[in-house]
Symmetry: D5
Subunit: 121 residues, 10 copies
């Protein structure tokens, strides 16, 4: 497996397909650049998902998050983007992504995006 | 952008219009004057909203909160006012504002205002 | 305003009549006498209410709680009484009062009384 | 009142019959003997109940819990027994008893028993 | 009773058959080997179940968890397996198993599996 | 023993005279009146002492602290007074009294008085 | 007493002159303006002192801290200034002032100034 | 080894004689009877010692603490007694025993006994 | 002032030269690359110093820490380097730098470097 | 580098020889077998050392701790042994090792070993 930052996820087959269970992943090692000032932003990222056929491989998730290190990213946008990229790669039954961004100007921001793909049918 | 206290909000377009997701903002840097005694009050402010077309720009939110610094404001009233001003500026789908005011006379007060504008239809 | 203990509340008009929002008040400065032994009891008091026409003025609430200082009061009874007295004075839409009494004989007691006056109609 | 361990409860009349409100009692001073090894077990006990006609007097509750001090008691059984004994004595509208037992062999056990006697009708 | 690691559970009869109550067990002493690298993994395990006819004996649960010590086990798989093995042995009315795995590469993973066997009927 | 508030302490003989060891007592159930406004003040009291011939009996300490309930007392003065009264009654080798008073006007005050009577010789 | 912001302290005579004891005061209600940007800064202030002849009256301390509300003040400077102003007003035996300033640019600053005036002799 | 309460300690040889190192043991499972009222008392016990030739075997320490279960014991006395019994059995270089007794009458008591046997020579 | 990462510090004159007082700065927004694997590392950095003639300007400190973002840096080395660079720029009387690095392989590392330049004379 | 458990440490040269600074390492992933019962024990291990010529490489430390996984080890002995093995490999100026072992029989044990090799001269 590569050890370079990458927007691609590696996946592996869900070991219990057909059962709805929850996988929760969190990290406090997310950093990107402010698209306006170019200065570093830091966040904690929390991901909850119910897999269908695929699970995300953890090291590739780490490389994915690393890929934002030198990119500009607005709080509201990047949280939605992480969610959508995971949906594309995993096609999970349900997913929630929360980005908890460090204080700027005395203000803390948390963005929470939730998609329930079971409702489609 | 101005760096003066101001009752006006700057906004930017919601990067994912059409999706209901939550933006949570909190600060422990709110201060106003007691309208009866003229002495300083301090509070933590917590804002949760689901944007429709617009998001609030964080620096202008900070300047907005700053604008109360030398104004008199009752706990119950100011929490409602922050909520209503954000509704006017953002027309969000949903908003909740909580003001958690410092102890006075051994008593702590928290005011919580919630408006769900999706129910209108 | 008086600065003597008093069973009367002062009130002020709800600044947003017609909107259901929550006012939460708590204090860890409640003390009364045990009606059996005459010895002091201590409690934390938590009040949540949705105002209709009136809000309780905080200083008068403090004087009200003070009025129990030299009275005997059973845990279960006094929590109900605080709730009922606030209902009489404020006629709120909803109220919850919680009394969290200090450990006696290795045992802690919490009494929670809730009244929803919106159900009457 | 006696100061000997006892399986009998003393009660007093509910000061607000006809109103559903919650009384919560907890202690970290419960100890019994392991029925297999005869060695001491320790637990925290949490009781929540909605009284109908009777409330439990706190000192007699303490003497009741004391009565297990030199008796053997399985975790699952004793938690159910405390619940049932309180139901017999108080005939409450609702009761929940939780026994949170100290770590044995690296494992902590919590047993939660809930009975809603309002459902009978 | 044996003191060797074992995949078999010992059980004892539920002392209150016919009543739905919750037994919660947790330990921070779970360790297995990473099936890819062969290196040790560590986790906290949380189990909640509603017994029907049988309860799990705690020491045998400890020996069961010990049996993973020198086995390879993926996070998602092992949490499901613990759940399924307990279902086979106890045939409970309901069970939830949560595996909270230590940080690897800056990322923490929690897997939660829940099975409600009351829904079958 | 009396159950009335009292400025007198009961004592009992130190069970290990000749050994310097520490007895630490704390309570969060101290209340007095503000000598200026007459309104209630609340504090936590922490006492550490090394006994010589006498130890303070705990119930009489509780009655002593109760005796301030309806007296006016400045923060700085009352903490010194508790210390001096215990010195008079116990003649300990060492004592420290700390009064940690609740927030008034946004400000918390802690007064710490320490007397080492071993230095006299 | 005035209720206006003021750089003057009111004092009262130390009730135990001749004894070295500690008075500790803290508040999380300090705010000033950044002298460079003019924007509000927030801090917690902690004061410890050993009085000689005078103690500071708490309400005047509150008015003193209030007086910085609309003044520019550097972190390092204002903490030294509070310390020096208290020394001028109280001539204490010892004083320590700590200013714990809110996060700016991801960085928190704490300034601690200590003066021991007993060393002069 | 016995599994009955016992005032005797089992010991084993210090694995590093000649080196001063610290062994710290604590439990929150100590209970005795109040010698005045006969009612149960509960405490946390903390032991720190530097061994010379012997270490205390943990199970025998547990049986020793168990032996107080149905004995009367004053707070100040029992803490000294545990310390002295360990000194007799282990002849350590240093020992500190702390008994942290549960709240009675709103008051918590902690007794700390320390003996440094290195000072004898 | 620049808003680019930079190894240069800006300084300003100490507002109280001649007095020894402590300035403490901490951030949880430090990230560098592992010099072996090239992957991101994260740390909290804590700085305490006693200024002599100069203080470090906070924004330039932030830009300095930012300058490590895309550099390789060993834990032990980078903590020493931050310390030495601050000594070169500020010539403080005393400085301590602590780097608290995130868990890798289940292991957390903290490096603490302290230099007292007052001892030179 | 190997990825097998090993009693050998890899080291690298201290990047700042001649300066006394502290390296602190901790892990909650230590497990060994009880030498009496053969059952698993778990501990947190804390290491502080001042390097002279060598630092321990973290991955080899992890492999070293792993090497105890299937060995019997008494609490007091293993903590001393980890300390002594690090001294042999690193010849540091100072080292402290603390082993904080999980609760067994209601009792927690912490063993602390400290060696200051600077005192030899």
């Amino acid at each position: 497996m590569s050890t370079k930052p990458s927007k691609d996820f590696e996946t592996f087959p869900n070991p219990r397909p057909g059962r709805e269970y929850l996988i929760s992943i969190d990290t406090d090692e997310f950093t990107a650049l402010c698209p306006v000032t170019g200065q570093p932003d830091f966040a904690k990222i929390f991901i909850d998902y119910i897999p269908e056929k695929l699970c995300v491989e953890l090291k590739s998730l780490k490389l994915y998050l690393w890929s934002y290190r030198n990119e500009g990213a607005f709080h509201e946008d990047v949280t939605n983007r992480i969610c959508d990229d995971l949906v594309s790669a995993l096609e999970p039954l349900y997913i929630k992504v929360r980005g908890d961004f460090n204080i700027r100007g005395g203000v803390r921001t948390v963005v929470t995006v939730e998609r329930d793909l079971r409702k489609k049918a």
